[in-house]
Amino acid sequence: MSPSPASSPAYNTPNYLNAEKGVRSWLTTLDHKRIGVMYLALTLFGFFLGGVFALLIRIELLTPGPTVMDAMTYNRMFTLHGVIMIFLFMIPAIPGIFGNFFIPLMIGAQDVAFPRINLLSVYLYLLGAAIAVWGMIQGGTDTGWTFYTPYSTTTVTTVAPVLLGAFILGMGSIVTGLNFIVTVHTMRAPGVTWMRLPLFVWAMYATSVIQVLATPVLGMTLLLVAFEKVFGFGIFDPARGGDPILFQHLFWFYSHPAVYIMILPAMGVVSEVVQSAARKNMFGYKAVAFSSLGIAFVGFFVWGHHLFTSGQSTFASGVFGVLSMFVGLFTAIKVFNWTATLYQGAIQVSAPFVYFMGFLYFLIFGGLTGIALSTVSLDVHWQDTYFVVAHFHFIMVGGTIMAFLAGLHYWWPKMFGKMYSERWALAASVLVMVGFNATFIPQFLLGNMGMPRRYYSYPEQFQALNVASTAGASLLGFGFFLILFYLVASLAKGRASGPNPWFSRGYEWNTPSPPNLLNFPETPVIDRGPHEYQDGPAAEVKHAH
């Protein structure tokens, strides 16, 4: 094992946080780690904004009639919530933060393949986010994040700036994906073979392929909508000879794979966390690695399951339905292998592991409700109801955000060299998970009862469950604030974590924590797979303490 032990004299250089000072050094940095930290700050701000709008929506839904806002404001709120959460948090967060920070460290590289393009992606994100949020607030976009035509092309509110913003954000997403693909192909250190690639890198690789192939379709679709809206072309509007369903096909051709852009990185994160927390190599490494590619591939052929009630051909619905089940199959393979990884392990129940267990629970139920939805006939009842809302929040919040939190707690000491309060972390994790269940289980039942989504007012029989959901959401919001609070506090007052507080054998822990500006003073040579714990404590880790 020859990456230098983290405490070797070769590492006696400043870490990446202290190597250069000043705001300017951050704004012009080409260092993948600093770019990851910038993404952390930016996407967390996006998450905060999206969360505020989510809480406003839940407050409005406390009573059947108007509660605190009028119908127009409500419609704008759920549009803001959807657009911000998806384009400013779910899609860029894990790739932008953990992908940037850890892919080079995990494959023994000094940086990503194109550091300047990497910095460009941050600015594309900033520009796109600014235009989209400004446009939505200024123009009061009320279309929902799906922009369905002909509503979006005939609404009196302004839609074009949001489309432009999403287009620019898409560009950022494409260049990030391209950068990661080239990095993984060309910059692996000696000994990091494809079959020794950390599973997080595999998942990010699969994600990047989707980003590069699917995002251009979003760009084209948004351009077509903008053309129709601005120049009056008849592409989607039937009044001008267009086809509204064509928009749905094009939109979901991107946006369904985009769901896997959101969940695949999460699966990569928990693969790392579970191996470290259980001190076990992944049971079925190949199955987990290849099922990521499987999801990326099949994910391109399932978009029609959003159109079961649109009047698309019955045959097409059948094909899309059965293909959708294969996504569930690949996910099931991962779930079983993660569970089997715990077998004969040495499990440390710490905050990252608690979030892993939460992730497993939410992904199983989110995934199985997805299977239920793709049985075609059941979807006829559930389509566009709160059941679907609850299903995708189980995957997006329960899956992706639990994994994000698992990764954040697991890698926090790696990124900043500080330890947070474990007691507060466990308390917050309980709060978040109880709050999440209380928010979304009632929404499954509301969907069964038949409450459609995007409803400003509702018949009275739906009220009790809506109140329960709002109560849960406030708990959830409180939990997130608690996390923010103790993490920020740890930066100021947390104890130093040491290079490897988890005694993890993931490759990224072969450097000091926080890492140096130059990742590896000498090219590391890897001679074992990631997370192999069979031979007693590894020399370099022992040395570090």
Binding site: N75, Y148, G328, I333, F336, I364, V376, R453
Partner: protein
């Protein structure tokens, strides 16, 4: 069997089943629910047992390398695959049946528009928001939309179909349980999306025949809408004001206009009569009988200032007879804040289906 059905239906908060198709769909729902729960909790219980069984003893404990045998991955893939395909094998034929109307089904044209449902039997009559169908006979709906995409959704039938502008889609049902069931719009369509409510009234077939006969004979030629319920039955002895309130309710006026001064899609009717109204474009007009009637028949001729973007009111030319328009005008005139009695009516309060 019935008790089991009822147990699961209530456990899962499902609404009444008003057709055989909805019952069969629910059976699949129960099957998926039970098997998925078993699979999920077995997996989670296994993970939990491992967590307790394999706790870490020392910080740097070593563990054996455990790699799967091929049989493990075969089981991991095979078990869910068999289960998922079983779901699909039941669910897909159900879906195909829903998409294939039987020969001889009665046609009803459905048109969605912001924010109401219009129904038309090919031989008449037409109605707004209330669809009356006979129990036990197949009905085929031919759906379209006048503006944006809407989705016709009857939870009690577990049935939903998008109504698209510029084309017709179809779906069919055979409701076998008389009753009144809510109709929702399930596809987001703007400001009034959540108030685009309707009602499906399933009548015993003989009663429906009598009703239809009356409609066709023209015994009530002016009733363009769903028949008034007993409570709304026209009382010819009632004043014009009472008749006006009833007609306005049946015609769906309260979907956009309030009678208590609240801002809604259209201008409120409270204190409207006799007021000087500012119009789009700067002109003003006194809201007298002529103006009120003209606004019913040609709603876009004189738009009240501030409502240009919301000018969605359809014309009622040919739908309101002269006496009806007069009754509504009288009703509007009666709506005054200084009137001796407070006005209890608060717009179209949706009456939920009673009983679960």
């Amino acid at each position: 069997m019935n008790q089991l059905n009822e147990f699961f239906r209530q456990l899962l908060f499902l609404p009444t089943q008003a057709s055989q198709w909805s019952r069969e769909l629910d059976y699949l729902h129960y099957f998926v629910f039970v098997t998925a729960m078993l699979g999920a909790w077995t997996t989670l219980a296994t993970a939990t047992v491992f967590v307790f069984r394999y706790r870490r003893k020392t910080a740097e404990q070593s563990t054996p390398i455990v790699d799967p045998k091929p049989i493990h991955e075969v089981v991991f893939i095979g078990l869910p695959l068999v289960l998922f395909l079983a779901y699909f094998a039941v669910g897909y034929p159900q879906y195909v049946r829903l998409q294939t109307p039987p020969k001889g089904a009665m046609d009803v044209y459905v048109q969605g528009k912001k924010w109401m449902w219009k129904f038309a039997f090919p031989g008449g009559p037409n109605s707004t928001d209330v669809l009356r169908v006979p129990a036990g006979r197949p009905v085929r709906l031919l759906l379209t939309s006048r503006d944006v995409i809407h989705s016709f959704y009857v939870p009690a039938l577990r049935m939903k179909q998008d109504a698209l502008p510029g084309r017709y889609t179809q779906i069919w049902f055979n409701a076998d349980r008389p009753g009144r069931y809510p109709i929702f719009c399930a596809e987001y369509c703007g400001l009034g999306h959540s108030s685009m409510l309707g009602e499906l009234v399933v009548m015993p077939a003989e009663e429906w025949d009598v009703w239809m006969e009356q409609q066709r004979r023209g015994s009530q030629p002016l009733a363009q809408d769903g028949q008034p319920t007993a409570a709304e039955e026209p009382d010819l002895r009632g004043s014009l004001v009472d008749q006006g309130r009833r007609i306005a309710a049946v015609q769906g006026c309260f979907k956009c206009h309030t009678v208590d001064g609240t801002q809604h899609i259209g201008p409120t009717w409270l204190d409207l009569s006799g007021r000087t109204v500012k119009l789009e474009g700067g002109k003003t007009v006194v809201a007298d009988e002529a103006y009120l009637t003209r606004s019913m028949m040609e709603p876009n001729a004189e738009i009240v200032a501030g409502y240009k973007d919301k000018a969605v009111m359809p014309t009622y030319q040919g739908k309101l007879s002269a006496p009806d328009a007069a009754a509504i005008t009288e009703f509007i005139k009666s709506l005054r804040t200084d009137a001796p009695t407070a006005e209890p009516q608060k717009g179209p309060i949706y009456v939920p289906v009673t009983g679960k």
